[in-house]
């Protein structure tokens, strides 16, 4: 009985494995990226153009930056597209990734209630604004999920010499959209990428209070998973994607992409 069940299970898994990936004729690579990138809609324009040119399908797995890099470390995916410079450099240094390239950047904005209880509206330096928010009694809503946005929060707190803890610091542990909703309900401050903010603008009662500080720039890097570490990765195909993203064709699409009446990304390859 036991044998038969095991046999059944074995053959079932085998069946699944051949019927799954094998029935597609084109090669497909797996790209781990961040939810904010995927939610922006850019990949829906960018990747079909790449597939058309190269015949390579790209399966997008959208998770937080921390998890995306983890999937790269474990060899679960072939290439990662994320925005957390320090973590990306660690990823390459530790030998998990190769050929890191700058692809594009967008920027973060500090949002808050219209009446701005902390009085940070129009400030030029993000770190000073953060320090002021910490001093005030207003809430700050944090991603708290090791995402690229969360990394940026931590970077700014460090620059502001503030340890973000206490009742005013709400760590939500979820995606950007949820955080915006929480910040809206609590009428607190929140750091958001411009893309997600523009998508949510109509639904929430928060406005941009601080923007334009170079410290708020959000560069995206694309990294191939190291084939020396994980021989099974589709490295040649991953490299094709990276080359194409940084080529004039890819960069042009990035520059031309608009959503909710605003440009979201600026090409950065070859800078």
């Amino acid at each position: 009985m036991k044998r038969r069940v095991l046999g059944l299970l074995g053959s079932a898994i085998w069946l699944l494995s051949i019927s799954g990936p094998a029935c597609k004729k084109e090669t497909a690579i797996k790209l781990a990226t961040t939810t904010s990138t995927d939610n922006s809609g850019l990949l829906d324009v960018l990747l079909p153009a790449f597939t058309k040119e190269s015949g390579i399908q790209v399966h997008v797995i959208a998770v937080g930056t921390g998890k995306a890099l983890k999937h790269g470390e474990n060899g679960d995916v072939d290439v990662v597209l994320v925005h957390a410079r320090a973590a990306e450099e660690r990823f390459v240094q530790d030998g998990f990734g190769v050929n890191r390239r700058d692809v594009m950047y967008n920027d973060f904005v500090i949002l808050g209630p219209r009446d701005d209880p902390a009085g940070v509206g129009g400030m030029k330096e993000a770190r000073k604004a953060m320090a002021k928010i910490a001093e005030s009694t207003a809430y700050f809503v944090s991603r708290g999920d090791d995402s690229g946005t969360h990394e940026k929060e931590k970077e700014l707190w460090k620059a502001a010499k503030v340890k973000p803890s206490g009742k005013w610091h709400l760590s939500v542990g979820q995606g950007m959209g949820v955080c915006l909703t929480v910040a809206d309900e609590k009428q607190g401050y929140v750091l958001a990428d411009r893309g997600t903010y523009l998508a949510y603008r109509e639904a929430i009662d928060l406005s941009i209070l601080v923007e334009g500080d170079p410290a708020l720039f959000n560069p995206y890097g694309v990294i191939a998973v190291n084939p020396a570490k994980h021989p099974h990765v589709k490295h040649a195909e991953a490299m094709k994607l990276i080359e194409w993203l940084c080529s004039p064709a890819g960069q042009e699409i990035i520059a031309g992409f608009e959503k909710n009446g605003g440009k979201l990304f600026h090409p950065a390859a070859g800078r």
Partner: protein, 236 residues
Amino acid sequence: MDDSILLGGAAHAFRLIASGDARVYEAAFTSIWISCTATAFASAIGLPLGFFTAIGRFKGRVLLVAILNTLLALPTVIVGLFVYALIRRVSLLGPLDLLFSPGAMIVGQTFLAIPIVAALCLTAIETLDPAARETAFTLGASRKRLLLTVAWEARHGLLVAVAVAGGRLIGEVGVSMMLGGNITHYTRTLTTAIALETSKGEFAVAMAMGLILLALALGLNLLLRWIQGMRGGRLG
């Protein structure tokens, strides 16, 4: 509660269904075939498991029953983690390249549903009137005959076990998200699409998909009821 989400969601659901929205139909189709396949596998393993736990007399039976019931509390993310550890590309089953594919989701959902099917099957048989079994025994029924009799007597309970498992699977997010990866046109189900739309702030679309999911579950349950009624009517 903001009624634009509820009413807007309901209105949007009808629009999506009526307009034949490709994304919704695709996700619904993926949800159905993956969950049904996993339910079938889980039943193939869970029903015999529950059956023999119920009627068997062996050492550790009580412990097995307790374990089965405990596994009902298994969070989907833990099942996802467990299967992830098994199938990630650097692991034992790695060469099959299952991770982030429908196959991975089926394996995960099967594990999730086995305890449900087995525990409910066990209960269905244990709550049978023992007299039926005794009678069959005294009538000198063979062991095979006896098993069939018990299974037949418990058929409604067994069908419920399968239906509950199917309902659980079509509505679960954790395993599908973690092992499937929510890949467009490939592993996106209604539930992962709902999670995605919610994270994007598209609450009406998410609510609409939720209503469609419920309608699907209702359909599956009605179908099972119908089968049950038909069988019952014909045979007894």
